[in-house]
């Protein structure tokens, strides 16, 4: 069973500050995905990283996949109140024609104005 550990579990910061969320595992994944979820809604895909060492940027968000494809980080620069939400990382494994995701427990981010 693949496990993904996310840290921190909760994060409360002031608007304009920077932050980093971590996602770690002892397992190797074919890809690592990051989702953002609002209360009462389904998660929305932010990014997929596939290659070890890969870095992707989405405006103020920077995602990195570890060289060994076991861990990932999400860095937000100059956080805004609109960044508030639950951030979930998910590792993908393939098998039997399906593409199953194992999710971390999430990081609940609150950005205070």
């Amino acid at each position: 069973t693949q496990l993904l550990e996310q840290s921190p579990q909760f994060l409360s910061i002031q608007e304009g500050e920077n932050l980093t969320v971590y996602c770690n595992s002892s397992s190797v994944f074919s890809s690592l995905q990051w989702y953002r979820q609002e209360p009462g809604e389904g998660p929305v895909l932010l990014v997929t990283v596939v290659t070890g060492g890969e870095v992707k940027k989405l405006k103020r968000l920077t995602f990195q996949f570890g060289d060994a494809r076991k861990d990932s980080s999400l860095h937000i620069t100059a956080a805004q109140t609109g960044d508030t939400g639950l951030y979930l990382c998910a590792g993908e494994v393939t098998g039997a024609g399906s593409y199953q995701l194992t999710f971390g427990k999430g990081t609940k981010l609150s950005v205070i104005p």
Binding site: V44, L45, L101, F103
Partner: protein, 112 residues
């Protein structure tokens, strides 16, 4: 464009009653379909997945079952609900590796 519909949005059911949650996908064919359950604002637990009509795989032993009667329809059922079945149920689909999942808006089930 592809869309996913999940209903109902909220449901309150008594213990011992049956359950049927429906999920349909539009704009794609032969999707992989998934049912997840999420504990109060936390990570998601995979319950069932399906790679084709009539093909269901279960990830955890439980009081629930799933069916896929049509290519783009996925149904989550129970004959008799337990209190522990309460939670936020999410349907999702994807069409290949590394493409990410598209989730429905979820069903909040409360068993009383």
């Amino acid at each position: 464009s592809q869309t996913i519909h999940q209903w109902p949005a909220t449901l309150v059911q008594p213990v011992g009653s049956p359950l049927s949650l429906e999920c349909t996908v539009e704009g794609t064919s032969n999707p992989n379909l998934y049912w997840y359950r999420q504990a109060a604002g936390r990570g998601l637990q995979l319950l069932f997945y399906s790679v084709g009509i009539g093909q269901i795989s279960s990830e955890v032993p439980q009081n629930l079952s799933a069916s896929r009667p049509q290519d783009r329809q996925f149904i989550l059922s129970s004959k008799k609900l337990l209190l522990s079945d309460s939670g936020f149920y999410l349907c999702a689909w994807n069409n290949g590796a590394n493409y990410g999942y598209t989730f429905g808006s979820g069903t909040r089930l409360t068993v009383v």
